[in-house]
Symmetry: C2
Subunit: 275 residues, 2 copies
């Protein structure tokens, strides 16, 4: 296929029992998710996805043909929603569990957007509310390809990552790679209704879920203050904090609390946090 701009490529392997459970996800959902996580990686690089390849290792079972058909439909459905063709692949079967390996190609006019580009004083943004994805949203992730295209068209972004491990964990990857810290505004963190729901069961706060739950697939990105101004009227650009010299901090009306970059520990019990 012909390409313009710089070539981007990403690959992610999903395995039964680790990334999905066959009794909790339909093959169609597994297919959609396997494609979505890769498309999300291209979005996080500020790219436009152009094509996908699929490597399948199928368990040997009498009903595997129908299972494989559904799985592939899920892969095609998700790719199709963004107009991306599946241009190749490899299918095997074996006595082991299901493995779905997806590679997505993309392109970008300039240098790829990296997690290492955050600069002191940058504004930190997120594309949408987080937390509680385990209630089902993690199986229906929608990669933020359209959102990143709009954002890039509006301002120059310095760094970006998608949320797979959790808001603070993935922001931590930006901070590690960029050699800086972050101050988050508790009141500004967008909390998903699922985080509210889950908090009632878990006994931790909705904010805790928003900050630490994984697989939201929202994008975290940073821009200079001058560029941040250009995003004021752009949907999906929710300012949540500022890049500082070091550490990871949460600020609310009561003061400043240090956060673990890899997410809050589960014994975090401070009540009334940012609701």
């Amino acid at each position: 296929m012909p390409t313009t701009g710089k070539l981007l490529v990403t690959t992610d392997v999903l395995t039964q029992g680790i990334d999905f459970l066959l009794d909790q996800a339909s093959p169609r959902q597994i297919g959609r998710k396997a494609m979505a996580v890769n498309l999300s990686d291209i979005a996080a690089m500020g790219g436009r996805a152009t094509a996908a390849l699929v490597g399948l290792v199928l368990p040997q079972s009498p009903s595997i043909a129908e299972f494989a058909r559904e799985l592939y439909l899920g892969l095609e459905e998700m790719a199709g929603e963004f107009g991306i063709p599946i241009v190749g692949g490899d299918t095997n079967s074996w006595p082991g569990g299901l493995v779905v390996s997806v590679t997505v190609l993309g392109e970008r006019a300039g240098a790829p957007l990296l997690r290492s580009g955050a600069k002191l004083g940058d504004a930190i943004f997120i594309t949408g509310p987080c937390g509680g994805s385990i209630l089902g949203r993690h199986l229906n992730a929608r990669p933020r390809l359209n959102e990143i295209e709009q954002l890039i068209g509006s301002a120059t972004l310095n760094s970006c990552i998608d949320i797979s491990d959790g808001l603070t964990a993935d922001l931590g990857h930006i901070l590690d790679a960029s050699g800086c810290g972050a101050m988050l505004d508790a009141d500004a963190i967008p909390i998903h209704p699922d985080a509210q729901l889950l908090a009632r069961q878990s006994g931790t706060s909705p904010l805790h879920h928003a900050l630490t739950d994984g697989e939201d697939f929202e994008l975290i990105f940073t821009t200079s203050e001058a560029e941040a101004v250009k995003l004021i009227n752009v949907p999906h650009a929710i300012r949540i904090g500022t890049i500082v010299e070091s550490g990871l901090w949460l600020r609310d009306s009561t003061g400043v609390t240090p956060l673990q970059p890899q997410g809050w520990t589960h014994d975090f019990t401070r009540p009334n946090h940012g609701q």
Copy 2:
């Protein structure tokens, strides 16, 4: 990464127990093979490989770190022999068996060389001797990237495929895709010494092994007669037959025998066949 020409991409997934046995192949060999089969696919498209990605699913075991290191060294070694960087990937572990998924990107100045391009009257070539790869050569395949580059620089090829299933089986893929047949010259088929060795154990002829054994990773390609002349002094261009209207035939001094496009059946017992 910047690209010139048309982008090529291929992905192959190797699984424990199907593509390799852990008690018969070292992790280094598995890594080399997983990379080699993908590079071979790029060679078969007439391309130049440019970058690779690796998706690993590792069994959980106490010695897995050393195993993974060796596996990755094998992947890097094979890629490195052709100056190809491994630019990304994904590594997971699970209670199941080993899965190695490799994606290789490549490029080609013109349209990709396909198995569907063979034309009536084309000369059929192979890049080297076949048969008996199971004696160990299949674990040490050398993709014919340099050979195809030289061939393409010398003549216009019409179709190409690499031998993974076997000479007649893979030639059969060209014939199916191109809607034609082939007449092979028994005396011209290059027989690997391993095929001679294996024939002593198997009781079938070395030629049978050369025609039907898989995983040789030589390339089969076709050119017009006019272009074939340009390959007379090119090493690795061994003429083995001619594209005809239909069927798959083997010609020797005693006459013409029909071949099964998917390889000879194992009860083939005609003696003195083309040695």
